[in-house]
Symmetry: C2
Subunit: 578 residues, 2 copies
């Protein structure tokens, strides 16, 4: 007879594994939702869940229960299985982060992006790295960090200068700014920042001497070369191959299952390769995400399915697991926390403000950019966790990094909101006349819709229709302006325009603006903005999105038969709720 | 300092884990898609991928590579991590199977369901169990199976009498029959069948003596009692609690993430509990799925997100893993295969045909039911895999069960299609006049839509409008009739109707019939069928769904402004494509 494989996991191991997962996921999701109720990012609650379930609280109350549920002994099968799951979770999480990086957007935003991310990285990096190099013990270098002061300094510099793309993207969405020009600048700067940070971190890991103090088995040079080759190949050939494969897979394989499988396999393969190189699996998954996510062929709804499952199933387990191995109370080092917080806030915000100002943005926009970019969120925590596992930093610094990441994430949204808040509350009903409403659009595609709205825009503003259409279409090409709930907000910044102009079109058939919820747009708002009045764009865009959040109002304006009726519904709504 | 946890997985372990997952998932998805291209269920290709990567092929070509990628030594961390992932995958897979069981549908279908599933289970069970009890060696009892002939016989009986709900549901969808009365009968019979089979299997596991031949640690009686108590509590109190919690979670938490987390936590907790009872974790996950899936509050799109990720990420890894531990060539036992195939086909189809005939169904419908119910698919394989791990059956019988499950799945769809194929090809354009088309529906809800269409139905058939509406609404309540692509097919079987009648309504706003793709229905077809002509329902329903599969045609009829134009588009389409 052939291989009769004995079970590697006994029933008790499986019971513990399932229960550990259930408890981690349950606590993390629950506290994550509580965070959201308080308008905070979910990651805050997810990490807190780990702190409660780890040595900080549960270990204090009942060390036996902690050891039974989350065993520490290295050979324990249920721990190995749980750790394996957590590694897979982290890999998939970084895949999702990578998917959100859109290289073409970064390229199109050009100068402003380059300035904001360059100065936003350079200043906190130099501050952090110098401090780390000067006072490694105070900051909290780990054993291997003390042995290798340069990699330690570089790591601290990177950890303090990174921006959390997923969290800031979420904050911008909450503020209805994700599709505005300011939002695009922040997102593309954060993308570039992420990319540079992760590559730097890969180099740090490669530079790190082996754990026993001996020289690493493969030479540093080989590892760095291989990493750069991998990166180069993935962003050129790999990206090209993915973009060729995606349309085929989306049209011929089951949907969205085919793409989901394809994306996962590419990510896991890259993860295995970078782990083999010695620079951790999640870097490979991140680069795989960048290579794939860039494709305009990847439909928003596929992205959303991956995103939903990873964010709600894998990510909470990963974030909660951070607290499982660390005592947040006994490892709290006030001095390290203060230094880390100071560099992250002052260095990062200062650098980004400088960059935005140099790029010619208004004072208000520059501050908003600076506050937005300060957000560290999940990425800082993942980096910290990795550096900790590698022995580069000690418990105290990890705790400081986690606290800093949470503090910046909590600060970012409200600070941006405060800076951008308009002084008087505009009402949509006040700025529209019948002429601003197209009650029965004929368009079937975004291009047709924009052209149709542009005609009216040209009549109202006296500008050339072709110029308007071209500007709006270029903007649309850079990033789709579809919002959930059947809304879309194409827009154009135009020279020679006296004041902002908004044309709202209603399409009964719906036009697919590739919104995240897959809904075709029924209400399409074309926004024409004077080049010298960028702030008005944010206000009008937010006003439109906010007004039509209301399900009831949307239903009622869709049932209106004339522009006047449409406006009457708006007026009623503004009177009561908005 | 506090717990500085050493890594339980070395970089090489992580590399192997990631690569093993990538290879398993990649091969399984690829061959799964190839299967689909040949109109076969994906599970066929997924299992084949495991056969290629396991001892049967890869082990023959390069045993070293096999051992490196999928190590067999029990203590190997990368194997433990992979096995842990596979256990989690199986658990989530059974959760999804359970989610598809709708207890209220089973109850509503009443007599026919009871007869079909009773006889469909009893006949193959008695055949299989008697054979297994009489000739255990020939069939292939494992070591523990030989020691415990009764549990072995019961297991074989269950394995040969079960129906695979996920596969048959997929086959019915492919044939556009999922929402027909025949489809509902088959699905509810399969659900009841699944439920009985899994409970029986739990009892078998409980009855099994411990591996060392000694009496089990907990008494059989305790385990069975606990299992039944768990089942009873979950289907009553647990179900009630889930139904109370779901609306709250769906409205207050992030969507669909909140529900996704909730469902996973409930499933993992139940899995841990049943594993603790000694009856395997996946039984708990299945029951959790039944308790939750039953809820009308669980929106189709949430279900779909879970379904997509599990079916395309976890399930392929699980199915491929079956082939990893077994040599399908050397373990092939012709006699066992022949016996298992014969009992599964003849016993199952015979029993179900008898049941359907006794319930008063037509000959054609009875055969279609019998062939549909024969489908074994994934569920048979999961049971076989579990029995094999428990030492109840040997390699030869597992291979026979896998072959039988695949053979019945391949047979089921084409056989049903052959029996149901209509003799002449109907054309939608031929059976509709202008009076059968409502070009501008006002309805906002399914109930309003059915009432609106009923008015016209009453005029055309001379029947009482209230009777029609009530029958159709009752049917709708039992199971939503929304189809993907914006279609819906409410229907009613009525006494005193001379011939079938079809009224098609067009809604520009769209009515939410809770279709799997979340699209509101724009084309709603009310079907009125004479009670004594059940076959016509299948034909007309399939005709409607088939005709409007065409994206182009759908767009064009949505643009039509009068019933005559609507029919003209249909006529054009029928002339060219349909």
């Amino acid at each position: 007879m052939i291989i009769l494989a004995a079970a590697s996991l006994e029933p008790t191991d499986i019971t513990r594994l399932m229960l550990a997962l259930a408890v981690l996921l349950g606590a993390a999701r629950l506290l994550g939702e509580v965070s959201r109720q308080f308008k905070q990012p979910a990651v805050l609650g997810e990490i807190l869940a780990g702190v409660l379930l780890g040595p900080t609280v549960l270990g204090y109350v009942s060390p036996d229960l902690l050891e039974w549920l989350f065993p520490i002994s290295v050979g324990e099968p249920s721990r190995i299985a749980l750790d394996g799951f957590i590694v897979i979770a982290a890999t998939l999480l970084l895949l999702v982060v990578g998917l959100e990086v859109d290289l073409s957007t970064v390229r199109r935003q050009g100068k402003a992006t380059a300035l904001v991310s360059l100065l936003g990285v350079a200043i906190p990096f130099i501050l952090g790295a110098s401090l780390a190099f000067g006072i490694p013990e105070v900051l909290g270098a780990g054993e291997r960090g003390l042995a290798a002061p340069l990699p330690f300094a570089v790591f601290v510099g990177i950890a303090l200068s990174i921006t959390a793309l997923p969290v800031i993207a979420k904050v911008l969405m909450d503020l209805n700014l994700a599709k505005s020009d300011l939002g695009m600048l922040i997102i593309s700067s954060a993308m570039l920042n992420d990319l540079v940070g992760w590559i730097g971190f890969a180099v740090v890991l490669a530079l790190l001497p082996a754990e026993d103090g001996a020289a690493p088995t493969t030479s540093v040079f080989t590892t760095i070369t291989m990493t750069l080759v991998f990166l180069g190949v993935m962003i050129t050939l790999g990206r090209w191959l993915c973009h060729k494969a995606l349309p085929y897979i989306q049209s011929r394989w089951s949907w969205p299952g085919g793409v989901l499988g394809f994306v996962s396999v590419v990510a896991l393969t890259c993860a295995a390769f970078t782990e083999y190189l010695g620079i951790h699996s999640i870097f490979g998954a991140f680069i795989a995400g960048v290579a794939i996510g860039d494709s305009p062929r990847l439909r928003e709804r596929t992205r959303e399915t991956i995103h939903q499952f990873v964010t709600n199933f894998f990510a909470p387990v990963f974030f909660a697991s951070i607290g499982l191995r660390i005592n947040f109370v006994s490892s709290f080092e006030p001095l390290a926390v203060v230094i880390v917080l100071a560099v992250a806030f002052v260095g990062k915000a200062g650098g980004c403000y400088l960059g935005a100002s140099l790029a010619g943005m208004s004072k208000r926009e520059s501050w908003a950019t600076a506050f937005g970019m300060t957000c560290q969120g999940a990425v800082g925590i993942i980096l910290g966790q990795l550096a900790y596992s590698a022995g580069l930093i000690n418990d105290g610094l990890l705790v400081a990094v986690v606290i800093m990441a949470l503090a910046t994430s909590l600060f970012s949204g409200p600070a941006m909101q405060a800076v951008l808040k308009s002084k008087t509350r505009l009402r949509l009903a006040d700025i529209l006349s019948d002429k601003h409403i197209l009650i029965q659009m004929q368009a079937n595609t975004p291009t047709e819709a924009i052209t149709e709205l542009t005609q009216r825009g040209a009549e109202l503003t006296g500008l050339n229709a072709e110029t308007i259409a071209q500007t709006a279409l270029e903007r649309e090409e850079a990033m789709n302006t579809g919002l959930p709930l059947g809304l879309a907000v194409p827009h154009a910044r135009l020279d020679g325009l006296a004041k902002p102009c908004m044309i709202i079109g209603r399409s009964m058939i719906g036009v697919d603006f590739d919104a995240t919820d897959g809904e075709p747009a029924h209400l399409i708002c074309l926004l024409l903005i004077p080049t010298d009045d960028p702030d008005s764009q944010l206000e009008l865009l937010a006003l439109f999105a906010r007004t039509f959040q209301d399900d009831d109002l949307r239903q009622r304006v869709l049932a209106a038969t004339t522009p006047t009726e449409f406006r009457a519904e708006l007026n009623l709504a503004v009177g009561t709720s908005a």
